[in-house]
Symmetry: C4
Subunit: 201 residues, 4 copies
């Protein structure tokens, strides 16, 4: 079973999830520039979520390029990831309406935490199928960012109960950390890793 | 005529139907965690329908992999299936608003029953086109799950008039029954069935 | 320039247009079966439009299979067709709200008339590019259905001012007329037309 | 890394953005033809934005045909372009509600200005990756339209504060200017440019 149709379906869902968010961004009430201010929090929440979904799309893209075959387990792990990502628009809309409140901030953190775990499960399902000597297994290596992110989301969820804006700061920080595209996979694919170097990593 | 464009179109519709459901999942009124409780039934209905549509997508994927050519009849049988699946979001939203009521539960059961029949028709149209000795014909074999499911949906529709929560239990049960991906087709494609073994099934 | 990306984009738009219609089909107010009756006209309008868009998708599919190359003019003729088809959901929703009224019926007729003209323009742009001896030129031949349909839509628009239900009857009639898939192209592609037989058509 | 998946994803987003706009085009209140007049500004804004997005899709299509490989930077430049294009539906809806007001007109101009800059960045990222001797670099040449358009959008944003209808006139003018598809790339690809002729351009 090739990865093609799973890629196409994932692209479809991700493209729709990204653009569904803009549907939640209602045109302002009233015709003045002042009306724009009230939609500003919703707009900023949209920008942040757009970047997060963009990060997932780019990394998903890189991961599937390093994947040669998929099985039923991988299809379901992928659907599981898409399920959690599909909750992002609703959480974004809630956060945009109540940017300083605890519950929407914590729930937003949860809708970032869950796909990061689902992505990890999907990555492991692919590596289990492709084998430990596959290019993907070598490429993800230590996967520091993938392991730190869930911890940071957890911290943000906790901080949402104390200082919601600190949680927001963490969301922005993690996004910036990931904006650097995952060059590990890219470079490994062009230059197959030298076994000796792998040890040192 | 190859199956490619029909697959792409089906993926498009399924991806949209899945994500349209989240649009019906409005952000809660109010900023507290209590506001989440009122959207819980809608959320659970969303999870169930997401799983059902995921099942259809995965099985549809497996079926078309075992299909080599399509004709006009198959295109229409596929559109027929997509039509019924496109009703799932509206039925899900109605059930989410009135989780304990008879009519929304029965209608939800109907929107599960009809695509299961449409899937059966599509499967038969493909087998009629590919021939009884095709790999798909051998793979679906007795198709016990495909035959039991419509009966269980019918039972659930009946139970909706007595105890709606029993109907809900059946919806969950059938979903769990299908969550095991259709390994029959997968395994048959990798290991062409031995005629003698087919008899014993 | 190959037809692939134009097909993929058209499929995307058509898939979305089809499923956007279901978004307009709001869950009924209230939890009883009686509440279903009030959404019945909207549901029937949805079914009719779903069939129309299905017809366009299947015929578009057949036409592009008979097309080998596209140019800028064809891309725009295709966008023109998609533009008119994109109006169908709004017209369907309006008709579903006021099924017996003149204006929504006439406007619905217009949103069927315009894509039928746009389809004709697209077909001609493809034939102009592929040449009169192309398989598509031979396949569309007299194209009786394609020429009668706009006239019937025009008649329906006129009848909407007198008896809206007569216009509805014509909409159903034309849909049934087209539901027979366009076998002309299908058969020509499998059996290249014999020049002598073309004369007799 | 091939351009295929980036094309597919872009098509998905563009197809959805285009059709999301129609969702904002609510069916008129009331059943008479008079009710159509109140949705006319929203309809005209929809037509204009549909043409703009169509222009982006066709030019994006031409550009990626002239592109052989993509890297992470190009993926992000493409997401950046899609981000700005995803704002067009909301700006269109706001302009459609308040067609004669300054703020919606200026914001609409901004949602045309930003993607024109993003497109320029994407084009440069591709040329930087493909090399100055690539067919794309030769094809875009002086790129007069691409350089004039942002200036015209800027002028329109300024005019929105004085005479909003003059800004609207510029939006229509730029659309007409682009409706002529970008034949430069098309012709260069069929007839590789003669070095001597490039100098004269």
């Amino acid at each position: 079973m090739t990865t093609e149709r799973m890629e196409a379906f994932s692209d479809g869902v991700l493209a729709i999830v990204i653009t569904i968010m803009i549907l939640e961004l209602k045109p302002p009430d009233g015709a003045g520039f002042g009306a724009l201010r009230e939609v500003l929090p919703a707009f900023l929440a949209y920008v942040l979520s757009f970047i997060y979904l963009g990060i997932y799309w780019v990394n998903h893209h890189h991961m599937l390029r390093a994947t040669e075959h998929v099985n039923g387990k991988i299809l379901w792990a992928n659907l599981h990831l898409l399920f959690w990502l599909s909750l992002v628009p609703a959480a974004t809309a809630w956060l945009g309406e109540h940017p300083a409140a605890t519950a929407p901030t914590a729930v937003y953190g949860l809708t970032l935490l869950m796909p990061s775990i689902a992505y990890f499960i999907l990555q492991n399902a692919i590596i289990a199928h492709e084998g430990p000597s596959s290019s993907l297994a070598a490429a993800v290596g230590g996967d520091v960012k993938g392991k730190i992110s869930p911890l940071l989301y957890l911290a943000a969820i906790g901080l949402a109960f104390v200082r919601p804006w600190l949680a927001d700061a963490i969301f922005v920080l993690v996004a910036l950390m990931w904006l650097v595209p995952d060059r590990r996979i890219e470079s490994r694919l062009s230059h197959p890793p030298h076994p000796a170097r792998l040890v040192g990593e």
